[in-house]
Amino acid sequence: MAAGTPLLKDELDIVIPTIRNLDFLEMWRPFFQPYHLIIVQDGDPSKIIKVPEGFDYELYNRNDINKILGPKASCISFKDSACRCFGYMVSKKKYIFTIDDDCFVAKDPSGKDINALEQHIKNLLSPSTPYFFNTLYDPYAEGADFVRGYPFSLREGVPTAVSHGLWLNIPDYDAPTQLVKPSERNTRYVNAVLTIPKGTLFPMCGMNLAFDRELIGPAMYFGLMGDGQPIGRYDDMWAGWCTKVICDHLGLGIKTGLPYIWHSKASNPFVNLKKEYKGIFWQEEIIPFFQSATLPKDCTTVQKCYIELSKQVKEKLTNVDPYFTKLADAMVTWIEAWDELNPAKDSAKLPNGSAK
């Protein structure tokens, strides 16, 4: 029988971006109360966001972000949940779990409440297997293992940097799909966690996400979105593509699958379309860029990888739109801000040897 999953309550921060209220925390109380919360308040800083009693938290609004980062605050988005990455930067913990304020506790097929945080911790604490696909999915899950033909030399796996969870009820569709299928609900509970293979990109959703801040934190920049920007709803996508390229380069793993949360609110597809519109076209160029991006061997830390990526973004994507020059500069600003707030001993070091 598997031992109980450690709580990690002193090693994990929960980062929540919000613009309205935090009522949803009541439902999560049994699972979240032991942990420290970092609330990043987007929008009007004069609005008071009420945090339910009994939670230990720090809250940052726009004024706080400007005060702490000074001119570097320009890299943090405004009027977009992308601002959450400020929370990653100020955290002092090893692990981050981030969740949207319209996500609730889901139930598994047996009717039991799913402790999403516990599953994320399980995912992060067990290795990933990006070099060879295991047809029985996560070999470290209880009741599973590596299948016949899986080389023994690959069975130790690599450290897991990211755990990407999924959503029941309102699926994370883009605006065109939402418009075509407004009433589609995700009711399929897929009882699996799997490692995304090396060299394969994926669309990373920030609604239900956990990562090892020490291993990959600086790569989790959620970009320039929202107010004053030509694009929205691509923050987590951008972070996911950068993160995957860097993880592949550094020999780290990314898992997807369990846990599920219950996504309750369908955002307005017309509003979404306006935000995503450019992104839908740009992603046709962005994806091939990331698919072919390579990082030199001397990029041995996440920061170095990220700075190198920002150079390539400026070089190769600016002809798609001048926005990418701004974004590339913001990526550099982000790393500078990260290093300032997380001096040398906290910065993400290479976990186990040379870059691949």
């Binding site: 299948v147 033909g149 009882n191 995503e276």
Partner: protein
């Protein structure tokens, strides 16, 4: 006190259980025949009313006769199948025929399959004639296997290839449309030298792939039976494989909601639109409940471990990602990748348990490289089959562990092999791969040199046999 059963009723009970093995009922006295018939009928009625008919056969009309008396009999397996109904009709007995007429029993021509609509909604409706089910017979008595799969297999053509090393006669139940190939057939088709080196043991099924003339092939090990899904429904593994093969694969970008073409799912936000058409799926790799396909060391270490996790997903294995393809439960598009499924890597002490083979792992990686090169897809996940307990992992481990060690060389090779632009057919691809195997792996171990030769021989055979078979 309960009346003890009469000799007649005991005989009828016994006959009920054996009905499928009886070929002629006309010798029975009329009253016993009627009794037997109505008992058979009451069993069907009970199954129909309680929804227990797992074969999914169409119910046979409205019941008017008072058959309650017969419902007290112990329910056994007997179903009013076409064969048994014909038996009764063949007796020519007036009363039996009038009962049949009164009950408005229609001959069930083909069983209605419990195929879930969702599997077919996105896929093209295919002709049953486009499918061959190829079974490698490593056991001589295929009756339990085929009887369990009957509801799923009976509408298709079956190719049964007997392991040339198997000495006993094959026992195959009736009611199927099938061809059986034994050692002599294989020898005649390809010459006895080839047959010995290429088609022994689990590899006998490749002969079936070679001579099949259908577009789709589904292959399941003869120690597997249909599994049940989380709702208790019987899984139609063939329908699921066909659905996988007739809906697109998406190897160039990972969809976090798995198969975007299945009902209730779609591409997620961030998935490039230009990639949403997908590509042809050439290979469908299914999974196994109960005895999973572990290697011998793993199963020996965890002898009691059984796979009970039903993962309700099909996903495309991304391009350039290698995987261990288990031959236990697969489907493929023979027209697109047929020649790439090949018998080549034969272990020195290869045996008759999957723990003692790696031929399918090798074949699967060849197919994946070919698929990646040709721009077609490979899916993994559903369907599940139920794999029965067989053999002893520790015994297999003592006998054969070479295969486990060889994977250390095999996997890096397939991960790095690259084919030239000139290779545009699966045959071209296999030839190029064989040359690479000979050059890079041949020096490592003689088994690889032989594999390279086998691959070349296989392509030659494929060409010869295809030419002979084509109209």
């Amino acid at each position: 006190m309960r009346t003890p059963p009469s000799l007649v009723s005991l005989a009828i009970d016994s006959a009920l259980a054996q009905l499928s093995n009886i070929s002629d009922l006309s010798f029975l006295p009329d009253h016993i025949l009627i009794d037997l018939f109505l008992s058979q009928w009451s069993i069907l009625k009970f199954e129909y009313l309680s929804g227990e008919n797992s074969a999914g056969e169409a119910p046979c009309g409205i019941f008017k006769l008072p058959v309650e008396g017969f419902l007290k009999r112990t329910l056994r397996a007997g179903k009013l199948t076409e064969k048994i109904l014909k038996l009764f009709i063949a007796t020519g007995k007036e009363e039996v025929l009038s009962h049949i007429e009164a009950l408005n029993i229609q001959l069930v021509l083909t069983p209605v399959l419990p195929t879930s609509k969702k599997n077919l909604s996105m896929s093209q409706i295919i002709d049953d004639n486009d499918v061959d089910i190829v079974i490698g017979a490593l056991h001589s008595d295929l009756t339990p296997f085929l009887d369990e799969w009957r509801p799923v297999f009976s509408r298709f053509h079956l190719i049964i290839v007997k392991d040339p090393d198997l000495k006993d006669e094959l026992k195959i139940p009736g009611g199927f449309n099938l061809h059986v190939y034994t050692k002599s057939d294989i020898d005649k088709a390809v010459g006895s030298a080839s047959s010995a080196s290429l088609f022994s043991g689990y590899s006998c099924r490749y002969f079936g792939y070679l001579i099949s003339q259908k577009k789709y092939v589904v292959s399941i090990d003869d120690d597997c039976v249909p599994a049940r899904d989380n709702n208790g429904g019987l899984i139609d593994a063939v329908a699921q494989h066909i659905s996988n093969l007739t809906t697109p694969a998406t190897p160039f970008f990972f969809n976090t909601l798995y198969d975007p073409f299945c009902k209730g799912a779609d591409f997620v936000r961030g998935y490039p639109f230009s990639l949403r058409n997908g590509v042809t799926c050439a290979l469908s790799c299914g999974l196994w409940l109960n005895l999973a396909d572990y290697d011998a060391p793993t199963q020996a270490l965890k002898p009691g471990q059984r796979n009970s996790r039903y993962v309700d997903a099909v996903l495309t294995v991304p391009a350039r990602t290698m995987l261990p393809v288990s031959g236990i439960n697969i489907g493929f598009n023979r027209e697109v990748v047929g020649p790439a499924l090949l018998p080549a890597l034969r272990l020195a002490k290869e045996g008759k348990f999957r723990w003692e083979t790696v031929e399918d792992i090798w074949s699967g990686m060849c197919v994946k490289v070919v698929c990646d090169h040709l721009g077609v897809g490979v899916k993994s996940g559903l369907p599940y089959v139920w794999r029965k307990e067989r053999g002893d992992a520790i015994e297999s481990l003592k006998k054969e562990w070479e295969g486990v060690k060889l994977m250390e060389d095999v996997v890096p090779f397939f991960q790095s092999v690259r084919l030239s632009q000139a290779a545009v057919t699966p045959e071209d691809c296999v030839i190029e791969m064989a040359a690479a195997v000979k050059e890079r792996l041949g020096p490592v171990h003689p088994v690889f040199a032989r594999a390279a030769e086998a691959m070349v021989e296989w392509v030659k055979l494929w060409k010869v046999v295809r030419t002979r078979l084509s109209p």
